[in-house]
Each structure stands twice: as structure tokens, then as C-alpha cells.
């Protein structure tokens, strides 16, 4: 009787089939490690976007930093101009000459513009005299 019971029980349960609840796979897959190969494009895309973002952020901060550095350098140099004038008088003289030449040129350009405007105005006046209304 005992043998029969054990054999029947074993036969009935050894190869028994029973489907688990549907949601069990979700619980299992949540606890599995990330995919390591094969269909890895989403991972590459994710890391790619992150890398580009980091690069842009880094480049723009570097640009801002450098820009700021140059500006502060130019401020500092304005403070040291007087010292440089004393240290290198010849260079300073040349620089001064170049600046005055530039100003002169600009002045001449201005005269030219005024002259051209006067010419245009006189031409208009002449035109009016020849062809009144």
C-alpha cells in the first residue's frame, strides 16, 4: 500500500505542468542584469547623447572661461600701460604715432564724406535751377 502511494504520488507530480501567474516574468526581468551585447543600440544612443551633451557643456564653459580670462587680462594690461610706457619708450612712441595716423586717416575720410555730400547737394540745387518744378 505504501509503495503504491509513493509511486502514484511521484508519477502524478514528477512531470506535472502548471503555468505560473503572468506577472511573474515582469518581476523576474526587473531583477536581471542589463543586456551586454547584441541589441545594444539603445545603450549606445543613450551614452552617445550624454557624451555630446557633456562635450558641448565643457566646450561652452571653456569658451566662457577663456573669454573672461582675456577680458581680465586686457583690464590688467590697461593698468600696466603706464609702466610699459616707461620701460619701452620707443615702442610706445611708435604705437602713439600709429594711433595718431589712424585718427588722421579717419578725419580725412570724414572730410571726404562731407565733401561728397556737399557735391551731391550742389548738384541737386543746380538741377532745381535748370528744371524748376
Amino acid at each position: 500500500m505504501e509503495y503504491n502511494f509513493e509511486k502514484h504520488f511521484s508519477d502524478k507530480l514528477k512531470d506535472a505542468k502548471l503555468s505560473p501567474p503572468d506577472e511573474l516574468w515582469d518581476d523576474i526581468s526587473d531583477n536581471l542584469p542589463e543586456q551586454t551585447d547584441g541589441n545594444a543600440s539603445p545603450t549606445i544612443l543613450r551614452y552617445g547623447i550624454a557624451a555630446v551633451f557633456a562635450f558641448v557643456l565643457g566646450a561652452s564653459s571653456m569658451y566662457l572661461y577663456m573669454n573672461n580670462t582675456f577680458n581680465s587680462e586686457s583690464l590688467i594690461s590697461s593698468e600696466t600701460i603706464e609702466q610699459e610706457q616707461l620701460t619701452y619708450p620707443a615702442i610706445f612712441e611708435k604705437q602713439k604715432q600709429a594711433e595718431s595716423d589712424l585718427a588722421k586717416n579717419r578725419e580725412e575720410e570724414g572730410v571726404k564724406i562731407v565733401f561728397h555730400q556737399a557735391l551731391a547737394n550742389s548738384a541737386k540745387i543746380r538741377e532745381k535751377r535748370i528744371y524748376p518744378n
Binding site: 504520488f9 507530480l13 505542468k17 501567474p21 523576474i28 551586454t36
Partner: protein, 192 residues
């Protein structure tokens, strides 16, 4: 991805995918294998929740160790052993494993095999789940897996005598419950 548990080529393909943690391969293996390994977890667990935890741990271990399968025996059998060993490990972690049940056991039960024949697998699993953990584990290892008392004593770190007494008690409890369920079912049919 469809695969068969008896075709070595498709098994190899699924194993390769699972080892790379490819979700599609893992899901297709789960779909085919889970109906066979879920009853194992239900037999060793004390309820559905515990069986679900055993399933979860079992599949994680299986996916990690698939590379160890050497195609020398049935793949289904090998996976079944992975799950059985996982269930035993799960139970061994639990404290107070061998508390003797104070349930009254009728010693002179004349068991009717036809009552067992009539029962559904789900009902039988429910009966096994009602056993105390120690009884249930010894019963499973002796009756279903076919281990001897010496092996069970080694696996569970108990004496052979404990294994024998727990098996006898487990059998009596199960037989009592099956007889009772059978009587209830006969009464229900008679009242229809």
C-alpha cells in the same frame, strides 16, 4: 523566438542569448520552461508567494549558470535540478526548519489510492503546501526526487532517524488530508 527543449541547436542558441542577457532569449526560455519548474517551486514553497520568490531566484541562477550545461543529458532535467537545488538552498536559509508539528495524526489510516488518482495537480500541491517546512522538504526529496534517507540527512544536515520520522509523519498527514478532501467531494457530488 521559438525553441524546443529537445532540440540541441535551438537550446544552444537560446543559451548563447541568455548568457549575453538578451531579454528575448531569456523570455523564450522562461515561457517554455516555467510550466515545468513552477510545480517544483510550489512543492517546496509553503505558499504561492514563497514559490514565486523561489522561481525568481531560480531563473536568475539558471540564466547565470547556463554555460555549465554540457549537453550530456536532458536539458529539462538539468534545469529541474537547478531549481530543486535552489529550493533546497532557499529552505536551508530559513530559521527553525525542523519544528515538529503538534497536529494530531491518525496512525491507522487505510488509504484509498483511487482518492489520490482523482485529485488534480493543483489540489495535491495545496495539500503539500500545508505541511510544515521540514516534513515537506523531506517528503519532496524522498518521494519525488528519489533520494535515500542518508542523502537527505547529508543535504539537510539532520540525522537519518529524523529524516525517516519526518517522512512518515508527512505521509500520514497527506493521506489524512486526501481522504478528507475525497469525502467532501463525494458528499458534494451526492448532494447535487
Amino acid at each position: 523566438m521559438q525553441f524546443s527543449l529537445t532540440d540541441n541547436k535551438s537550446i544552444q542558441k537560446v543559451i548563447d542569448g541568455c548568457l549575453k542577457n538578451d531579454r528575448a532569449s531569456q523570455k523564450s526560455l522562461y515561457k517554455v520552461l516555467s510550466p515545468y519548474v513552477y510545480p517544483i517551486c510550489m512543492r517546496y514553497g509553503s505558499n504561492q508567494e514563497e514559490a514565486a520568490d523561489m522561481m525568481q531566484e531560480g531563473f536568475i541562477k539558471l540564466f547565470r549558470n547556463l554555460g555549465k550545461y554540457e549537453f550530456t543529458g536532458s536539458f529539462k532535467g538539468w534545469c529541474g535540478r537547478v531549481f530543486t537545488n535552489n529550493c533546497i538552498d532557499f529552505i536551508r536559509k530559513k530559521p527553525k526548519l525542523y519544528i515538529v508539528s503538534d497536529e494530531n495524526i491518525k496512525e491507522d489510516v487505510s488509504f484509498d489510492i483511487s482518492a489520490l488518482e482523482k485529485m488534480k495537480v493543483e489540489d495535491l500541491l495545496s495539500v503539500i503546501q500545508t505541511l510544515p517546512t521540514g516534513y515537506r522538504t523531506v517528503f519532496n526529496l524522498f518521494i519525488i526526487e528519489g533520494y535515500g534517507h542518508k542523502e537527505i540527512a547529508d543535504i539537510l544536515d539532520i540525522s537519518e532517524g529524523t529524516s525517516k520520522s519526518q517522512l512518515n509523519r508527512a505521509k500520514k498527514i497527506i493521506q489524512n488530508k486526501i481522504q478528507l478532501l475525497n469525502k467532501q467531494e463525494n458528499l458534494r457530488i451526492a448532494n447535487l
